[in-house]
């Protein structure tokens, strides 16, 4: 057991999985000698060599497209895309191929790959380095979407993602990369996909969040008897955990940084409206990003759901 930040935890998961399975390889831009722009893959080239930690041409479509073929043939590629905004170049490869091959070939071929990408606001980078587009991927059948929030679950979830037989998008909250240090076991453990974790139990109010925003949502909950659910896997998501909690509390607030419109919070809200409306004491509220382009540094703090906005939502549902 040692204290690691999320960068270290992901690095440790990669280290262990590559040691465990020789088909696991890392491909991406600057993942080798440079150890990745966030240093997530540091030391892996030295340990596993250039046939398993591979610097590719600067070509996101090429990385994901080649990973489809690598995975179909029997490798387990972990592809790094430097920032989520650059993943868009590879969307057709993900949506039209990776996500469909199993279905189109009626199970003969599959694409067990992981696409790792940092997402989200909070590090004041250049444009298109702060996207949080999880809803796009949740909408498309055939892809799994995972968002860790702590060093412990980052390691355990990534291990599950690498062992998963389907394509997994692993969204790493860049703001949290080095800001939280926590105990992470050295040895092998997994955090299963598809299950949420209850960060804090409570009686009055259910809060659903993930990634960076989970921590804001938890901080804002001080003074409320809130049950805070860290969704962790957005697709497939843990419907049971949400419903069980809402049936107990009767109130639901969802917090995410992506735009509210057609965001994943809408899916969570719709689930509760369909399955547990008779338990609700208050309207379901979403605290989310605006219908606006993610801004650069100067306006970043105005875009990100603030403690005040989140608290207001909690207060509003508590008035019912």
């Amino acid at each position: 057991m040692g204290k690691l930040n999320i960068v270290g935890a992901i690095n440790s998961a990669l280290f262990e999985e590559m040691g465990r399975d020789s088909d696991v390889i890392i491909i991406g831009e600057d993942v080798g000698r440079d150890g990745g722009v966030f240093r997530v893959t540091e030391g892996l080239l030295e340990r596993f060599g250039p046939d398993r930690v591979i610097d590719t041409p600067l070509s996101e479509l090429g990385i994901i497209g080649a990973a489809v073929g690598l995975a179909a043939y029997g490798m387990k590629p972990v592809a790094e895309i430097q920032f989520m905004g650059f993943l868009y170049a590879g969307l057709e490869q993900i949506f039209s191929h990776a996500a469909r091959i199993r279905s189109r070939s009626r199970g003969r071929f599959s694409v067990p790959m992981v696409i790792r990408t940092p997402y989200g606001i909070g590090i004041k980078p250049p444009e298109l380095h702060s996207e949080s587009s999880e809803a796009l991927f949740c909408h498309m059948p055939g892809i799994k979407v995972v968002v860790p929030s702590t060093p412990y679950n980052a390691k355990g979830l990534l291990k599950s993602a690498i062992r998963d037989p389907d394509t997994v998008l692993f969204m790493e909250p860049s703001r949290l990369y080095r800001s939280i240090k926590a105990d992470v076991p050295d040895g092998d453990y997994v955090v299963p996909l598809g299950r949420a974790s209850i960060l804090q139990e409570g009686k009055d109010l259910t809060v659903v969040s993930w990634g960076t925003m989970l921590h804001k949502a938890a901080e804002a909950a001080e003074g409320f008897d809130a049950e805070i659910i860290d969704l962790m896997t957005l697709k497939p998501f843990d419907e049971e955990a949400i419903l069980t909690s809402v049936k107990k509390t009767g109130r639901l607030v969802i917090v995410h940084e992506a735009p509210r419109i057609a965001g994943f919070g809408a899916e969570v809200a719709a689930l509760v409206a369909e399955e547990a409306i008779e338990y609700l004491k208050a309207p379901i509220l979403r605290v989310a990003g605006f219908e606006a382009v993610v801004p650069m540094a100067r306006l970043e703090d105005f875009y990100m759901p603030s403690l005040e906005r989140i608290k207001k939502a909690y207060e509003r549902v508590m008035r019912y």
């Binding site: 390889i25 046939d51 591979i54 590719t56 041409p57 070509s59 479509l61 090429g62 994901i64 497209g65 080649a66 990973a67 489809v68 073929g69 690598l70 995975a71 179909a72 043939y73 029997g74 490798m75 590629p77 057709e92 490869q93 039209s96 191929h97 091959i101 199993r102 279905s103 189109r104 070939s105 009626r106 199970g107 003969r108 071929f109 599959s110 059948p141 055939g142 799994k144 998963d164 037989p165 389907d166 598809g194 497939p236 419907e239 049971e240």
Partner: protein, 355 residues
């Protein structure tokens, strides 16, 4: 300082049997008479498969279909060069490749009739579901070939796309990766001169598609795509090179789509009858008959018996396709992931599907 030439590219063109059925005496020994005969028979089978598919479409028994008429040599000659251990990544206009590889024809008819089960490649063959988006499967072949190399398997991948596909970024990114990682892959451009209504000349300002390999650091070659011997040899050579760690090759098969783009298209809207007639005179079976006759392997009776056998086998496959039970509606959900999600189980239950 005077300008210095730092790189020159050469683009070669290969033809072994010309339109009059005359074979180049130095090149023809590289392809055995037996192989050419087998190619001829497979081309007849592919043509019969294709004709029947067009008829079935007209009768409403299958959906939209993309004809391969005129491209049989490009497809059969290249496909036969691959071994069954190799992996192939076809586009939607590759019936000739699939038929030549022995892909069950009844499954192809099922697919074109709207049944995904037709794309469940049988064990023993490694053929990816045909790519419908143009050119986007090029990187997949590169990736599979890369995996073969990383695993130390002496195999290769082949990918089929058209002149239109060569305009896609996916094509260039796939070729670039293949060059950088020296992947054992053969890129087979079926340059049939038309991407629906857009002619090859409007697709790229380059003189050939073959030369596009040069920019990615490996060899490209143009072959007479209506000469099955040339296509076969070029593909065999490329595979030999690939399997001996010589890296990728781009082969541009210079051929012609004699039919409409698909059964939903009318090519008379955009190209002249004269052009089509001129290419009909160059179609791949004509010269092969002449050549085989010259070497004493062709008679009218021989071709009639080959054709009759092909028709019988295609008809039997159609019967099998049409007698196949309809798909289970649960299939539409079942293969999305390795295991059903809870949401999917609920959806199946609500729909009354599955057991």
């Amino acid at each position: 300082m005077p300008l210095e030439i730092i790189e020159k590219i050469e683009v070669k063109r290969l033809q072994i049997i010309n339109e009059r059925g005359e074979a180049d005496p130095e090149l023809i020994p590289s392809v055995s008479d037996e192989e050419i005969t087998r190619c001829f028979e497979a081309m007849i089978l592919a043509r019969v498969f294709n004709q029947r598919a067009l008829s079935l479409q007209r009768e409403g028994r299958i959906g939209t279909y993309a004809s391969i008429l005129g491209q049989e040599a490009s497809q059969v000659g290249s496909a036969r060069a691959f071994s069954d251990d190799d992996w192939l990544f076809p586009s939607f206009r590759e019936s000739g490749v699939l038929v030549a590889k022995g892909y069950p024809m009844w499954m192809l008819y099922r697919y074109w009739a709207g049944d995904e089960r037709g794309m469940k490649c049988p064990e023993g063959l490694n053929i990816f579901p045909m790519s419908v988006p143009v050119g986007t499967h090029v990187p997949h072949a590169m990736g599979a070939a890369w995996a073969m190399k990383l695993k130390g398997h002496r195999k290769a991948a082949g990918v089929y796309f058209g002149d239109g596909g060569s305009s896609k970024g996916d094509f260039h990114e796939g070729l670039n990766f293949a060059g950088v990682f020296k992947a054992p892959v053969v890129f087979l451009c079926q340059n049939n001169q038309w991407a629906i209504s857009v002619p090859r000349s409007s697709q790229t300002a380059a003189k050939t598609i073959a030369q596009k390999a040069s920019a990615h650091g490996f060899e490209g070659i143009q072959v007479d795509g209506n000469d099955v011997a040339a296509v076969y040899k070029a593909t065999k050579d490329a595979l030999e090179k690939a399997k001996n760690n010589g890296g990728p090759t781009l082969i541009e098969c210079f051929t012609y789509r004699l039919d409409d783009h698909t059964t939903s298209d009318d090519a008379a809207r955009y190209r002249s009858k004269d052009e089509v007639e001129a290419w009909k005179a160059k179609e791949p079976l004509l010269r092969l008959r002449l050549y085989l006759e010259k070497i004493g392997k062709w008679t009218k009776g021989y071709e009639e018996s080959v054709t009759k056998k092909a028709e019988e086998s295609v008809d039997a496959e159609i019967k099998k396709a049409e007698a196949f039970p309809p798909p289970d509606p649960a299939d539409l959900i079942r293969y999305t992931y390795a295991e059903l999600t809870l949401r999917q189980k609920k959806e199946m239950k609500e729909s009354g599907w599955g057991s």
